[in-house]
């Protein structure tokens, strides 16, 4: 192949892309849809359930204050510390629950694997930025809240002019 034809071919393949659909996801107007409600773990079978590893969710009515999540995280990021809570639950005599520092957490999900009482899961929430370091520390009360986010955009392949994000 001659040099000229090669260059024309190269230019041509770029020019063709003027007609190709835009692939970019226009975040934050659009948010990609995740599978499921976040990463969960089933201690009875020892296998996780696929989902996004985002901000945690703590179920206060299950947590026993056993500290296993905090022990697991000690070897990873030391993001979990156990704090006193005011609530009284009969399964949680010590009244301690995990508090997570998202300035340290690496979202590995090993604390979820460590929890034997189905009380710590992860959610699809990944927008955790804050102006202060303290704002990154989530107390048990904050972790209890179910995130309310609309993520609905999916990759579409049906357009003959290329894949798009809807």
């Amino acid at each position: 192949m001659g040099t000229a034809t090669g260059i024309i071919k190269a230019l041509n393949s770029g020019i063709k892309h003027l007609a190709v659909k835009r692939f970019t996801l226009r975040y934050p107007e659009q948010k990609l849809k995740m599978v499921g409600d976040g990463y969960q773990f089933d201690p009875s079978t020892g296998v996780g359930i696929a989902g996004y590893k985002g901000r945690h969710m703590l179920f206060h009515d299950h947590c026993t204050g056993c500290q296993l999540c905090s022990i697991a995280c000690e070897g990873v990021a030391e993001a979990i510390s156990m704090v006193k809570v005011q609530e009284e639950w009969k399964q949680n005599k010590k009244a301690i629950m995990p508090q997570i520092d998202y300035g340290k957490c690496v979202f590995c999900g090993l604390c979820v694997d460590a929890c034997p009482f189905y009380s710590l899961y992860m959610t699809n929430d990944y927008e955790l930025s804050s102006f202060t370091k303290e704002g990154l520390i989530y107390t048990p009360a904050q972790l209890q809240v179910k995130p309310n986010i609309s993520q609905d955009v999916e990759l579409k392949f049906d357009n003959p002019r290329g894949a798009t994000h809807g």
Partner: protein
């Protein structure tokens, strides 16, 4: 006459008048997190001395203080774009130490995850190679198409880059429903997209004239200097651990290892692209042969202990053979973990390749070696 003692204070090194020493890096975008000390005569490189070590993180030492499972999140850090492949030898090794048998379905899912990861890594590498050569379209396209597989891996593993997906004894979670359909759609589209790179990049006469015959590595030298991965295969040696020492499900798959004879920067930049095309084939085969249901992970005891044993396992990563040596001494923590990485092996041949090259060709030769500074430093 005895030589007069040098005066105290600053001493000036004697230099040749024609030769100039340049420090490329460590914060130069054309070097990665490393320094290359090049001596130039005019525009030609007389000698090049790579100086890695700026991103040493102590991964191996850290592994001695954590148990076999908690080592996972930090051991994948050396190459986060290739995190499944970096963890692979460690998981294979620990499985042998603890005597775990991986379920059949997990073996195939591991192959799929590591092939997806290989493509994600190569696309990132290719994007940087493009921008090193001043071809900014070749930066945009791979960086965009990479998103297809990142998105797939996110649905599979729950994280975009640092997946923490492999675990001794299988994988962390089973794949979501509708997985095969999602995967095959992306693989087919991805394959179609990367085939378009040929016209704009690989068949482009400007790229060819820039990289043809630059940094030629002969077959003998490639073997003698111990290179691996794409650098070795671009010099005509057909060596790929996926075929030579098949691990997990690779033995049951039909793999055509791409090799080229030229051994120059062009061939070295083309092999990873051919690898990606082959990865698409491997993924399709794995999806077909994979058991449709079943367990994906054997249940581990808390704090599993290994015996008095040691093990060495290696896999083919995006940068060549990647080995992991694990020593266990009856404790929940490994006694020693040593990673032997492809990047560092490929760096060894760099001083030989750059000698006599033009300085402007240095990024083209350097990045074609498939070198990843963070991995080499661990």
């Amino acid at each position: 006459m005895s030589s007069t003692p040098l005066p105290p204070g600053l001493q000036i090194e004697k230099v040749d008048e024609r030769i100039m020493t340049l420090n490329v890096g460590p914060q130069h975008p054309g070097s990665g997190h490393m320094r290359i000390i090049v001596k130039i005569d005019g525009d030609y490189i007389v000698s090049a001395d790579p100086d890695p070590g700026y991103v040493h993180r102590g991964e191996e030492k850290m592994a001695e203080y954590r148990n076999y499972v908690l080592n996972i999140p930090h051991l994948e850090r050396p190459v986060i774009h290739d995190s499944c492949n970096v963890l692979y030898p460690y998981c294979l090794g620990v499985e042998e130490l603890l005597g775990l048998e991986v379920p059949e379905r997990a073996k195939y899912l591991r192959v799929i995850a590591s092939e997806l990861n290989r493509c994600v890594y190569i696309q990132y590498w290719l994007a940087i190679y493009g921008i090193f050569l001043g071809h900014s379209t070749m930066f945009m396209w791979p960086a965009g198409d990479r998103e297809l597989y990142i998105d797939m891996l996110e649905k599979m593993t729950g994280a975009r880059v640092t997946h923490s997906f492999f675990i001794p004894g299988g994988i962390r979670n089973d794949v979501p429903a509708n997985f095969e359909d999602m995967l095959l759609k992306r693989v087919n589209y991805f394959e179609k997209r990367i085939k378009e790179y040929a016209a704009i990049f690989y068949d482009n006469p400007i790229l060819i004239s820039r990289t043809r015959d630059a940094g030629k590595l002969s077959r003998e030298d490639a073997i003698r200097l111990g290179t691996t991965g794409s650098t070795l295969r671009a010099s005509g040696v057909n060596f790929d651990l996926r075929v030579k020492e098949p691990y997990d499900a690779y033995g049951e798959l039909d793999i055509n290892v791409p090799t080229l004879k030229e051994g120059d920067a062009y061939a070295r930049s083309k092999i990873p692209w051919l690898d990606m095309l082959e990865s698409c084939n491997i993924i399709r085969q794995a999806v077909q042969k994979m058991p449709k249901s079943g367990s994906v992970r054997v249940k581990l005891k808390p704090n599993p202990k290994g015996g008095n044993d040691e093990v060495y396992k290696r896999v083919e990563s995006g940068r060549g053979s990647l080995g992991c040596y694990v020593v266990s001494r009856n404790a929940p923590e490994p006694y020693r973990v040593k990673l032997s990485v492809g990047s560092f092996r490929n760096l060894i041949c760099m001083p030989y390749l750059l000698k006599g090259e033009k300085l402007g060709n240095m990024p083209a030769v350097y990045w074609s070696l498939n070198y990843w500074p963070v991995e080499a430093d661990r």
